[in-house]
């Protein structure tokens, strides 16, 4: 056989092998989160069935809808109140951002299912999609990817991704935003940020990550620090990306102004929830030192404070790894709610995709750690779900 023919055959074989390898990877990337999605459903159902006298699926979906979930159900079904609030209430729904309830309401007009059923399925779907988007963000590190999927879909806090809370959508859109930034698609990042800013108030802070990425690109091209504003002004696409980033928030402000008369009603209504602004360090200290009864078990405020501290430390690790945009976004998204108190801190941390991805990368550094953590994630899913269903305060 001529040598040229052999080489060609070998090249075709290599290509086929590479194609088959890619196909296998694609199948693995799609299948891993699907398996964890299913195992998560089974584990959470087992936890639910162990505490509920009625194990029906309708009761199952409703049982997970706790705390803020009920507000989102009401917004999706009834919208926002005008002022005065009906029923002589002080507490309007204005503090809860509209994107996710709107999406669920839109789906409900097409599908004949209850709000919580649609939202539960949507949350699971968002969780699954978040995993897929995370794959390129984790530099195709399969061990880290498996841990991340296990954490989101079958892990100790997977119940947040199985009910009507903003975290599933927030994680998905945050992942899309950072993927767009990784590819230097600034307008896509800006549009993602606009969606993020309509999902939760801290979403708008991602605009700083976009600006930092622009600055990094400018510097990488040899631009000077002083020359950055000029470079930016010469690129209308970048200006649009920045200006479109808070569009979701501004749209909501306009809506509140038209309906309530107060564009900042989402801030002002915090008074009715008894939130007072203060020093985050003091809140952390008070949380850490709150242990009124004897015993070794940490209290709910202690868990919240510890979670916040670990999350801030992880933000610092992001900065050390030169992921400055993600680090700043996460730190600000933690410090802003910390200025009122420690409420919902665990949920907020779980909803910060750059932090959970980093945790997955760090914990998958060695094979034994990876295996142990994977087992811990799946095992604690059951017990944490029981705690959530029991209304454990640290998980609010």
């Amino acid at each position: 056989m001529p040598s040229g023919r052999v080489e060609a055959d070998l090249a075709v074989e290599d290509l086929a092998r590479a194609k088959s390898g890619i196909r296998l990877t694609v199948i693995a990337v799609a299948t891993v989160p699907l398996l964890f999605l299913l195992s998560g459903l089974v584990i959470r159902y087992a936890a639910f069935a162990s505490v509920s006298p009625d194990p029906s699926l309708a009761v199952y979906a409703r049982a997970f809808c706790k705390w803020d979930c009920t507000w989102y159900v009401d917004i999706s079904e009834q919208g926002y109140e005008r002022f005065p609030i009906p029923g002589h209430s002080n507490v309007g729904r204005w503090g809860f951002f509209p994107l996710y309830p709107m999406l669920v309401a839109a789906v409900r007009t097409i599908l004949p299912f209850s709000t919580i059923a649609i939202a539960s399925v949507a949350s699971l779907a968002f969780g699954y999609l978040s995993c897929l988007v995370a794959w390129p963000l984790m530099d195709k590190n399969m061990r880290a990817y498996v841990l991340y999927c296990a954490f989101l879909l079958s892990g100790p806090f997977s119940f947040y991704f199985a009910t009507f809370l903003t975290e599933p959508l927030f994680v998905l859109v945050t992942s899309c935003l950072f993927l767009a930034l990784k590819r230097s698609s600034y307008v896509a990042a800006g549009l993602s940020c606009a969606l993020l800013s309509a999902t939760r108030v801290v979403g708008v802070l991602a605009v700083f990550a976009i600006i930092i990425r622009m600055f990094e690109e400018h510097r990488a091209k040899g631009g000077s620090v002083i020359g950055f504003p000029r470079w930016l002004l010469g690129r209308p696409d970048l200006i649009i990306a920045i200006l479109i980033s808070p569009a979701g928030l501004f749209a909501y402000i306009l809506y509140l102004y038209v309906t309530v008369g107060d564009g900042f009603a989402f801030v002002h209504v915090q008074r009715a929830f008894g939130r007072v602004t203060g020093n985050p360090l003091l809140f952390l200290w008070e949380g850490l030192s709150y242990h009124p009864r004897p015993g070794w078990q940490p209290t709910a405020p202690q868990w919240s404070a510890l979670t916040a501290i670990v999350a801030l430390a992880l933000s610092a690790v992001l900065a050390v790894r030169r992921q400055f945009g993600a680090a700043l976004f996460c730190a600000m998204a933690l410090i802003l709610p910390l200025t009122s108190n420690l409420a919902s801190m665990v949920r907020y941390v779980v909803g910060l995709a750059p932090l959970t991805m980093l945790t997955a990368v760090l914990l998958s550094a060695s094979k034994p750690t990876f295996v142990v953590v994977l087992i811990v994630f799946v095992a604690t899913c059951y017990f944490m779900t029981v705690a959530w269903l029991g209304g454990y305060l640290a998980l609010v």
Partner: protein, 207 residues
Amino acid sequence: MRWSELTKSTRPAVLLCGYAMAGALAAAEIAILGLALNPNVNEDYRAYYVDKTTTCLNRDAVGRYTPGRTVSFRSDDARETAGMRVCGWSGPVADGTHSLGESSRLRLALPPLRDGLRATLEMAAVIRPPQTWQRIVISANGTDVYRAMLSGDLATTVSFVIPHAVLAGKATLDMRFDYPDAIPQSADASNIYNRAIKLRSFRLDAL
């Protein structure tokens, strides 16, 4: 299409469109911000949510009441007092309706009166040693009509006159209770949760 891929001929037009869009976005956001900084809300909304000068959000609640009858503010008469309680109350529970915040309000519709009214209220102070008292200032339709200091945790019956002058020409009686010594729930808790009194019963008699 990436920015670098624009040709020389298309660049000026795309630039112009880009700047126009950026300008429109900036203008819209500034306009919305301007609206948000100037809320179009009523005084009650502003006082409670924006300026935070009150803990009691005034609402359009008006209860029905016929003078000469004692109304219980314990949990046994919850329905009757529901309409009267405008804001600043929590409960009712077994030992009365608890004040919430730095002031509370009751509002009730009254038939036309030829003279003033005598109000008789049974109240107990919420105390937390070393503070064993609560000052209370009661006003009717905006005029101070009674000041008292409740001490200890036993209920006290207070009685005072609401002059005809503050009722004349008014279809409702708006009673406001101010608590200068209300006790915060904790050092960093919002003042909307302050506690001062437990109102147990309420009665008005025509003079």
